[in-house]
Amino acid sequence: MKYLTEYRNAGVVHEYLDELHRTTTRPWTIMEICGGQTHSLVKNGILDLLPKVITMVHGPGCPVCVTPLGIINEAIYLAENEGGILCSFGDMLRVPGSKKSLLEAKAKGADVRILYSPLEAVKLAQEHPERQVVFFAVGFETTAPANALSVVQAKLLGVKNYSILASHVLVPPAMEAILSDPENVIDAFLAAGHVCTIMGTEEYFPVVEKYQVPIVITGFEPVDLLQGILMAVRQLEKGEAKLENQYARVVQREGNLLAQQTIGKVFEVADRDWRGIGTIPMSGYEVNESYAEFDARRRFNLHLQAVAENKECIAGTIMKGLQKPFDCPNFGTKCTPEHPLGAPMVSSEGACAAYFHFARAAAT
């Protein structure tokens, strides 16, 4: 496949690895923001091939993992009550709420549907005018345009029985939260390529400036990741802090303007609670006033309840990079993909799931 096989070429990978081994003289800790990058690193066995002194820390870029327990409970409530159809991306279904997951609610008779696109949910609402159709709009800046578009379309088509339960989070504020944490150990970031495809690169300059931290916008294939790591290490070794774009074949400086406009039409930036991390100011999107009627929270009068997390789950410290999944006493014993204590064990982008599925050969 064009643009995939070239970036999975074993020869090229080893050239980058050799260069990385030559370049690295000191220990560095680098965080890859996106869970897709984490999975690629683990799935391809890259972590074991890196110089021993480079520590990769798996960031909070797993939308499923950072969606607060309260919102998952709201989604389950909507699926079980109000006689509606709750539509969701597949990832969210196995994540445990306070009492159960959406998958368990579905097994008990709730109408929960897995969709790939929120526009399908609008279509579903048109086909079932007598029922309320709610789309569980989860994600970073990447999924926000399509979710916003579904609302714009519903308004245009006069679809009255469609709404979204928004749980959108933003990358730059999360990076700032990590960097300003007194326990921070991160020397450099690999920023999430797909997020930057939408938002462009500009918003990372202030972070680089303020914290003097190298940020390399990076893709997801083995060669992408190794290039990104090498670019970060070169900066660190020289004592530089710049914004660089490894993923230039996809990411442009201004991003996708049309997508940004669509986001701006429907959403406004607001404070947001991150599961396992806490509240980060101005780090999420809420449905704005002009589209209030499509906001499931307002339509069904939901009031987000702060809910106590399972104390046995260390997801928060894992996402801040302070601990690794293997450090958790419950990893693989009390917490497995079938019986998860927390979201990172079940999301396809979760660090614990990546370690559980792919990394045990290295550990044993």
């Binding site: 990832d91 897995i114 969709l115 790939y116 990394a359 044993t364």
Partner: protein, 339 residues
């Protein structure tokens, strides 16, 4: 299509009364007629001597018609292949229907014709059967159960206990094609592709291997649900040996790989219906692949790894770039990802 009074299945068609009688007479018996079925007895009386294999499978695929096949052809292939994997020559099938009230008669007929066609091609006879109808909403159009019997091939000795370190692992064709053809037409997930399911009968191909290599074929498995990864995990656990795969050697159709990339699915966990895994003695491995490749159904056959005493009970994959990882069992269903 015969005249059947109604254009949909009604509860009456499962009542055992006149409507059932007419449906069976005009539809089933006429279409599948053979010396066993024509008896119209409560069961079939069969002449079989020696060791037999016996297998059953239920089919609930949605949608019931998919690119490259339908639930009817699948129901024949599934059980025929299960028997073949035991080292048997499939001979007789039973055919049980659970129909949902309201199923279109034209769809039912099309399914019946596919069953006949698949049975003829794979050399099996439908010798007994059953039809029930459930209320609308209690089923999903049509569910089928087939059970099959076949005599064991004289040279077959297929058992996990025969798997040895050093044995080679062969797949007879490209993985994940059937599952992705189904996913491509599922509601909510439709995407444009010309992928066809590779669902087919594999018994003659397996026969050819048993004729030629006999006891050097140590184990056979059709990796249906859970895909190649889950099935190899079962084999690793049962045999107490390690299975080592080379990602670069696993044949995957380019469109299938692209669709898996897009949807966030791993082809190793996607269901198959038109391929099998053979675990064979290293002495005959290359030749086995050659024999498979001479057949249309085996043209993409490849050695994808080998059995070892290391990593007992585990499947370990060497990635294209040389990293290693464990390939676990699929927990529940593979769910599409967010981004």
């Amino acid at each position: 299509m015969p005249q059947l009074d109604f254009d949909v299945i009604t509860l009456g068609h499962g009542s055992g009364g006149l409507l059932t009688h007419r449906l069976l007479e005009a539809g089933v018996f006429k279409l599948f007629g053979n010396e066993y079925l024509d008896e119209q007895h409560d069961g079939a009386l069969l002449d079989i001597t020696g060791k037999v294999a016996f297998s059953t499978d239920s089919f609930v695929v949605s949608p019931i018609f998919f690119p490259g096949g339908n639930i009817g052809s699948l129901a024949v292939h599934g059980t025929v292949n299960d028997l073949a994997m035991c080292g048997a020559i499939p001979q007789y099938l039973s055919l049980g229907f659970i129909l949902e009230e309201g199923l279109s008669m034209a769809d039912f007929w099309e399914i019946l014709v596919s069953i006949r066609h698949a049975a003829d091609l794979s050399g099996v006879k439908i010798v007994t059967g059953d039809t029930k109808v459930v209320d609308k909403g209690k089923g999903d159009q049509v569910f089928i159960n087939t059970t099959g019997i076949g005599s064991l091939h004289p040279s077959a000795n297929i058992h996990t206990s025969r798997i040895q370190p050093g044995d080679k692992i062969i797949v007879s064709g490209e993985v994940a094609t059937h599952g992705m053809a189904i996913v491509s037409v599922r509601q909510g997930l439709e995407f444009e592709t010309d992928l066809l399911s590779d669902s087919t009968y594999l018994n003659f191909l397996v026969n050819k291997l048993l004729d030629k290599f006999g006891r050097d074929i140590h184990f056979l498995r059709d990796p249906t649900r859970g895909g190649v990864a889950t099935n190899l995990n079962e084999i690793a656990k049962k045999s107490g040996l390690g299975i080592h795969l080379q990602q670069a050697l696993i044949p995957v159709n380019e469109q299938v790989e692209g669709a898996c990339e897009m949807l966030g699915l791993d082809p190793l966990y996607v269901a198959n219906e038109g391929i099998f895994i053979a675990i064979v003695s290293p002495d005959v491995a290359e030749e086995t692949v050659e024999v498979l490749r001479q057949d249309e159904k085996g043209k993409f056959a490849a050695i994808i790894g080998e059995v070892a005493a290391t990593n007992p009970g585990q499947v370990v994959l060497s990635s294209r770039i040389g990293g290693r990882r464990v390939v676990g069992m699929l927990p529940g269903e593979q769910l599409p990802r967010i981004c």
